[in-house]
């Protein structure tokens, strides 16, 4: 079944905390197009685990500081 991603991220906020890094600069450093960075920031695309780690490394933070996933409700 097709369902929207529940992964959220703080890439935009972290870019600005890192000297207003542009989307193009981040895209260049992780090896994707600027459109892909835009799609990730807007939650329209979930990156692979490897790309997620690359984003975290470039932004100089841990993976879970960049990406969040809501807690599952336990019955």
């Amino acid at each position: 079944m097709v369902k929207p991603t529940r992964v959220t991220n703080r890439i935009r906020a972290l870019r600005f905390e890192r000297g207003e890094m542009t989307q193009a600069e981040l895209a260049d450093r992780i090896g994707v197009t600027r459109q892909t960075v835009i799609a990730i920031e807007q939650g329209r695309y979930s990156p692979s685990l490897e790309m997620a780690f690359r984003i975290a490394h470039v932004l100089g933070v841990r993976l879970d500081d960049v990406f969040q996933y809501p807690e599952e409700e336990t019955p």
Binding site: K3, P4, T33, Q35, R44, Y45, S46, S48
Partner: protein, 142 residues
């Protein structure tokens, strides 16, 4: 807009226009005669060839009009490309199976050629529409 999204738009537009031109030519030639008696082969080959040439020319034109535009292709482009091709592929199979069954039932060549052409066009159109929609929205999660 990525280079791959522009290519999807070009494929969509050329496929629709070429097939529309073919349908118009065949229906004009038909008049009061039966469709199976209409000379369609030339129009079919010219529109298929024309669509391929138009695709190539428009892609080259993109590079000429905006030579600084990035032609980079990343993992998201490849995932979207695969999804679009997967959707389009279904119609190639439907066309092949339909043509096989029509040949076994000894239908007129006109219908066999046209069901194959229609399914090729649907394959291109739906594959391209899928790519454009996913570029504009989000890649579905299963």
């Amino acid at each position: 807009m990525t280079h791959e999204e522009k290519r999807a738009w070009i494929m969509l537009v050329t496929a629709v226009l070429a097939y529309a031109a073919y349908v118009v030519v065949v229906l004009r030639r038909a008049g009061d005669t039966a469709l199976t008696d209409v000379p369609y082969a030339g129009a079919l080959l010219w529109t298929v060839g024309g669509a391929i040439v138009a695709n190539i020319v428009l892609e080259i034109g993109l590079g000429v009009v905006n030579p600084r535009a990035s032609r980079a292709k990343d993992v998201r482009d490849r995932e979207i490309g695969r999804l679009g091709d997967h959707v389009g592929q279904a119609f190639v199979v439907i066309g092949a199976v339909s043509a096989m069954l029509m040949a076994l039932a000894e239908w007129d060549f006109f219908w066999i050629a046209n069901v194959i052409y229609l399914c090729f066009v649907l394959s291109s159109v739906l594959g391209s529409v899928t790519k454009v929609l996913v570029y504009r929205g989000s890649l579905p999660q299963w």
